[in-house]
Symmetry: C2
Subunit: 205 residues, 2 copies
DNA sequence: AGATTTGGATGACCGCGGTCATTCAAGGGC
DNA sequence: GCCCTTGAATGACCGCGGTCATCCAAATCT
């Protein structure tokens, strides 16, 4: 017996799916922080113990939900980038991309979900690899744009482009964190744009 | 009766002090996240209900502990700044100050306490004003240095110095947050210095 | 001094996230 | 076909942070 499609394995997968989808639905309605494990297993029609057979913790389930969302977000960013006119300067493209990401976080993901995500990141028992990995699509996106900037002579060449991408994304994350703390008197998009103006000026050739 | 030194008020203050000091001691030994409210009240010799008479929540107590620490940290930064030779350029001073703050966070405050602090910041029911307030000593410190930079013609004048101070401190917080998530493969001081080099270049006249 | 109000202190209680000994079909090995 | 192993499923149970009706001594009012 390996990972065959036997009756047992199939039933287990089905149970996991039911828990995941129940959680997804409840989280969509109330925000995952207001949904208890008890309510998830009740909605899924399984026992609490069963939840912990399939998920390490509530935070781990949350991370799964977020990671799915992260991947779909990156697809949005990619199509935004591809929708931009080819003649734009790399400086302007980076500014617009940062603005698009700010908008997406503010209107689609929303404050309470960002807070949950960042708390999950800070909980050391949780694997948030897929949102933090340098292999994440978002890093590739920034790297591609920066590479073009170097090729066209707009950007300094003494720092590798993947390092620059890390700095820029880290900056967006930092400002978003600050926004989570200082909301509502702090405006995400405005601050991202102001900060990027300073940062990108420091990257010009 | 106003806020007189009557017997009742004094006894209440004494109770609060005992809880606070018990928490401080236990937190020092094990880290506040490994100390339960039950263990604090047991050590202080009071009931659990009494804890919640004097503190809104465990997180609120944590915030108090952190805020005390924050103020003492800012004193350290101020004396570091005053220990620097007067002839240094503002650029170098800012780099050294950022480096000092990184060192302090890494070796004195330490990772697990920064994680607790940032989680507290993300919990909306908690007042973390004293660490986040723009009146915090740290903001004054940066503002003073930046002002000198403008006066000496080292820095651009189109952005107000208090705005610049906010950007720089936000950047340190962002990098520290990234460090909390990516530790141990991410080096705080190194990253702060690399990022500041880019950022400060964007502020030069 | 006696009656009334105030507010610190109490501990049983709650729902939470998480654990674990136990159960019991489904799946080999012979 | 029989026996042993595997692992999904279970729910009573735990310690946690937090609540609240109740108590009662100190403070104030008359």
């Amino acid at each position: 017996m390996k990972n065959k499609n036997n009756k047992r394995t199939l039933k287990a997968a089905e149970t996991k799916r039911r828990i995941y989808e129940a959680a997804q639905q409840l989280a969509l309605a109330s925000g995952i922080e207001n949904v208890s494990v008890n309510s998830i297993v009740k909605a899924a029609g399984v026992s609490k113990g069963s939840f912990y057979v399939h998920f390490e913790s509530k935070d781990a389930l949350t991370a799964d939900l977020v990671n799915d969302y992260t991947m779909s977000a990156d697809l949005t960013y990619r199509s935004f980038l591809e929708s931009l006119p080819a003649h734009e300067s790399v400086f302007d493209i980076l500014m617009m991309l940062a603005g698009e990401i700010s908008d997406f976080i503010e209107t689609k993901i929303r404050l309470e979900n960002m807070r949950v995500l960042y708390k999950a990141h800070l909980t050391k028992t949780i694997d948030t690899t897929s949102a933090m990995s340098y292999n994440r699509e978002l890093y590739k996106l920034f790297t591609e744009v920066l590479e073009r900037g170097v090729r066209q002579g707009e950007l300094r060449e003494d720092l590798p482009v993947d390092t620059l991408a890390k700095h820029l994304i880290m900056a967006i994350r930092g400002i978003t964190f600050e926004w989570c703390i200082r909301h509502p008197e702090y405006h995400l998009k405005e601050q991202v744009e102001d900060h990027f103006k300073i940062l990108l000026y420091g990257l010009k050739k």
